[in-house]
């Protein structure tokens, strides 16, 4: 009765943890919803991860914060159940549901015991397909969101993030917090919640993974039960964002003994041919914790900070190469100077053979360590789908890292890294910074 398309040839093995054999199968439900599955029957539960592309960037014009508020309301009541009833029902099943949203993705994560999985799926289905958005819940959760917004007004990391976003992305949704503002959130109505859900929670942007104690046949049925009644299409994605960063320092006055700093410049998308070279370069520059140049120069040699890091941030619609540091007001100018120097040094000289070798060993060795539990694996599999990677990416990813040469790194850092183009946003009372 259940027609399943499970191609035996489509099975992919994760080669790295070879013995453990993470086997990814693509399952298509009778209703045509596809998911990636890793079956493992050692523990009697299943982790299910669902991602909707577009996330909070799909807020309608003038409705900033709607999708964030809507996401928080998904667990606040459905059908005959109010928020308390829904929470009681989930507790009674020991099912764990979480709902979150970022700039690019709305995520639903579930852990369900095998012994009552059908009931847990039915409960989650109600939340995804028919949330109540009743007024009492709306007001309660709105109060929580407004409280967060108010707190972020006085939190230096949040202040830095808000200023950096605005400088980088301007009017694009990336340019403002997905929480919305106190004003925009205050104005949101139940109708806005219904519309926000329709914009983002649709089958045309859906990515699913299941890991654990479930068969392909059972998963097929679950997919249709859970997601089959969502609308077929949602709102169009926003256009690509244009990066507005220029070189320089922006100081935001904040009375605190320490300055919090975010900095950044343009980055590159994941489909850039040099993406892996940039990824390796960043690991050496500031991504690799204690083995990175920035940690060595800013923390280990000079004691200017507790932590400094850089990272490549390839979002769906725009890319940056960023970093962050916190340093006492009287030291932060020196920290920024050292960061600029390191940025320029790598742009000019690239990396050494030994740095490259160490970075490769780390990055290839660390990759399989991420696959350490049903929930984390489900999360990785949805991330791969959102990035457009094939299932065999788990096997080819390390080869792509290994293939990066010193010349590749030199080329990409010369093309991209630009110490003069770095914009530093400094929140605090820095001394000696203009």
């Amino acid at each position: 009765m259940i027609r399943l398309v499970v191609g035996a040839l489509l099975v992919v093995w994760l080669a790295l943890p070879a013995r453990a054999g993470v086997e990814i199968t693509e399952v298509t439900s009778p209703g045509g919803i596809t998911a990636w599955l890793v079956e493992n029957h050692e523990l009697p539960f299943t982790a299910l991860e669902i991602g909707f592309r577009g996330g909070a960037s799909l807020d309608a014009p003038g409705k900033r914060g709607a999708i964030n508020l809507m996401t928080a309301l998904l667990e606040e009541g459905t059908g005959e159940m109010d928020a308390q009833g829904f929470a009681e029902a989930a507790e009674a099943l020991a099912a764990q549901f979480s709902f979150s949203v970022s700039d690019d993705t709305l995520s639903v994560s579930a852990r369900m015991l095998t012994e009552n999985r059908d009931q847990a799926v039915a409960l989650l289905r109600q939340a995804l397909v028919a949330p109540r958005f009743d007024q009492a819940a709306l007001e309660r959760v709105r109060g929580q969101v407004l409280s967060n917004i108010a707190a972020n007004e006085r939190e230096p990391n949040a202040i830095a993030g808000r200023n950096f976003r605005a400088l980088a992305w301007g009017e694009h949704p990336y340019g403002s917090s997905s929480d919305g503002t106190a004003d925009s959130v205050a104005a949101l109505t139940r109708a806005d919640m219904v519309e926000a859900k329709a914009r983002v929670m649709a089958r045309d942007r859906l990515y699913v993974a299941a890991v654990g104690d479930i068969t392909a046949a059972d998963l097929g049925a679950v997919l249709d039960d859970l997601l089959g009644d969502l609308p077929a299409t949602g709102a169009a994605l926003p256009p690509r964002a244009t990066l507005g960063l220029t070189g320089g320092v922006t100081v935001v006055d904040f009375d605190s003994p320490q300055s919090v700093v975010l900095w950044g410049q343009r980055g590159l998308p994941m489909n850039d041919p040099d993406f892996f070279a940039a990824f390796v370069a960043n690991h050496i520059l500031g991504g690799g914790g204690f083995s990175s140049r920035l940690m060595e120069e800013v923390r280990e040699k000079r004691g200017l900070t507790y932590g400094v890091a850089s990272y490549i941030a390839p979002k769906d619609l725009g890319e940056t190469w960023q970093g962050s540091v916190a340093s006492s007001n009287d030291k932060v100018a020196e920290a920024i100077s050292v960061i600029r120097t390191e940025w320029a040094r790598m742009a000019a000289d690239g990396v050494t053979d030994s740095e490259l070798a160490a970075a490769k060993t780390y990055l290839t060795g660390a990759y399989p360590l991420r696959f350490d539990g049903n929930g984390p694996i489900a999360n990785i599999l949805v991330g791969m789908q959102l990035n457009g990677f094939p299932r065999d990416y788990v096997n080819t990813r390390n080869a792509r890292i290994e293939a990066v040469t010193r010349e590749d790194v030199a080329r990409v850092v010369a093309r991209l890294l630009d110490a003069e183009a770095l914009r530093f946003v400094v929140v605090g009372r820095p001394i000696g910074l203009n």
């Binding site: 929470a87 060993t361 990055l363 990759y367």
Partner: protein
């Protein structure tokens, strides 16, 4: 290279491994206790060494030395250059870190199983052979002051917490922050750190936890090879902290900081911890915290304060019984912007009074029991979490049996046990109530 040579060559196989499911426990002749947790789902291993020493073991004027030494442990040995341990772990695809708490200091690595020998060799090396150059320790003290600036001094909530704890403990060192008071950290020296190291970093004061794709026999072989030759600290005194006197007077405080965006009220009560072979009361308190403040939509405080005529955007309760000495049971209410802290506190007290009069809801109690059972299934999916569970418990003086019987202790809790624990713990004479505020307002004096 200081290595311990057993006086008698024949004391090699001294202890019998205790088998309990996939957890094995053994002790080496030099006193090193070890726990092995097997999980063969992925070729990964977590290697942890927990020292039975933390900030609460520090002497007067030396706050922060436990954490200072934790940082300095990455500065090299006679065989390892400064930073080499972390770099070697990273170069082998692993990650490493360390943390300090009131009762323990722990070091861990996560790496492919076939590199266990390598990380164990390095961890064993730094248990006895640390070297500190003049430059290294002074720069690291600056790093720690930056850490304090970032985590504590820049965060009014963290400063408030520090002040509340100081008021909670009249005599016990749990009232001193782990990271140390700034003026004392500024004065810590190389000699302070080394004295601490020599005394407390020894196999007879450590717990080894290895979890993942390993067998107990293999871990024991490696542990004997790497840790077995290390010398114990002779005459290590039992951990004995000063005790709290009877707490006879309620404490109240306000903490005012213009950076506060969201005022809240917190109250902590002195509460008993889990003791070896005696975990019933702590289990009852754990269930009590879940009933009062576990899930906002189903807990007593959540329902009373966040629903209907809601006074709060958040209300919760927490308790963690993993400690050497008396710990705390904590209540928190974050009021809505239009609700004064006094009103929020009164609503919290009313909810607790009502609970003490009526007792727990039967259906909620049953759901919590379901969560405890399911929690054991979900916990098995996270081998690092299991390793942490054993390491922390053994570091605070519990045994393997206490860890393994903890779920049963939770399941054995009855509604009557919960009420008895609640009546005992909610004694205002042993409580600190704090208001975190953005500015002084008339409500301070009510």
């Amino acid at each position: 290279m200081t290595r311990f040579l057993p006086a008698l060559g024949l004391c090699l196989v001294f202890s019998l491994p205790a088998q309990a499911g996939d957890v094995t426990h053994f002790t080496l002749e030099n006193g090193l206790e070890a726990v092995v947790i097997e999980d063969h789902r992925a070729p990964v291993v977590v290697h942890m060494v927990w020292y039975r020493v933390g900030s609460a073991d520090e002497g007067p004027g030396k706050s922060g030395v436990a954490h200072f030494l934790e940082h300095l442990m990455f500065k090299g040995t006679d065989d390892l250059a400064p930073g080499e341990l972390s770099k070697t772990v990273a170069a082998n695809g692993g990650s490493d870190n360390a943390f300090t708490s009131y009762d323990f200091t722990a070091y861990f690595q996560r790496i492919a199983t076939d590199r266990l020998d390598l990380v164990m060799r390095m961890e064993a090396d730094r248990m006895r052979d640390l070297l500190l150059s003049e430059d290294d320790w002074q720069t690291e003290r600056e790093v720690i002051l930056e850490e304090r600036a970032q985590r504590t001094d820049s965060d009014p909530g963290a400063l408030f917490s520090e002040q509340r704890r100081a008021a909670q403990y009249l005599n016990h060192p749990y009232g001193t922050p782990v990271i140390g008071w700034r003026h004392e950290v500024e004065r810590l020296t190389r000699e302070d750190a080394l004295e601490w190291y020599r005394r407390y970093y020894a196999p007879n004061n450590a717990v080894l936890v290895v979890a993942g794709d390993v067998t107990a026999a293999e871990v024991e072989r490696l542990a004997r090879a790497h840790y077995g030759p290390l010398a114990p600290t002779p005459d290590l005194a039992p951990r004995q902290r000063v005790e709290e006197p009877p707490q006879l007077s309620e404490r109240r405080m306000t903490f005012v900081d213009p950076r506060v965006a969201q005022p809240y009220v917190m109250r902590s009560y002195l509460a008993p911890e889990r003791d070896p072979g005696d975990q019933a009361k702590a289990a009852a308190l754990t269930v009590l915290a879940e009933i009062l403040g576990g899930n906002g939509a189903t807990s007593v405080l959540g329902r009373a304060l966040m629903f209907g005529d809601a006074k709060a955007v958040y209300a919760g309760a927490s308790y963690d019984g993993l400690a050497m000495d008396d710990t705390t049971f904590t209540l928190i209410v974050v009021p809505r912007p239009d609700v004064p802290l006094a009103e929020a506190e009164a609503a919290m007290d009313a909810a607790i009074e009502k609970f003490l009069a009526e007792g727990p809801d039967v259906a909620q109690f049953e759901r919590i029991r379901t969560a405890i059972r399911a929690g054991e299934i979900y916990a098995k999916d996270n081998v690092e979490g299991l390793a942490q569970r054993y390491g922390e418990a053994l570091a605070v003086g519990l045994g393997v049996a206490d860890v393994q019987s903890w779920p049963d202790a939770l399941m054995a809790v009855t509604p009557d046990d919960v009420m008895a624990a609640a009546r005992e713990v909610f004694d205002r004479r042993r409580a600190v109530t704090g208001w975190l505020m953005q500015a002084e307002t008339p409500q301070v004096t009510q």
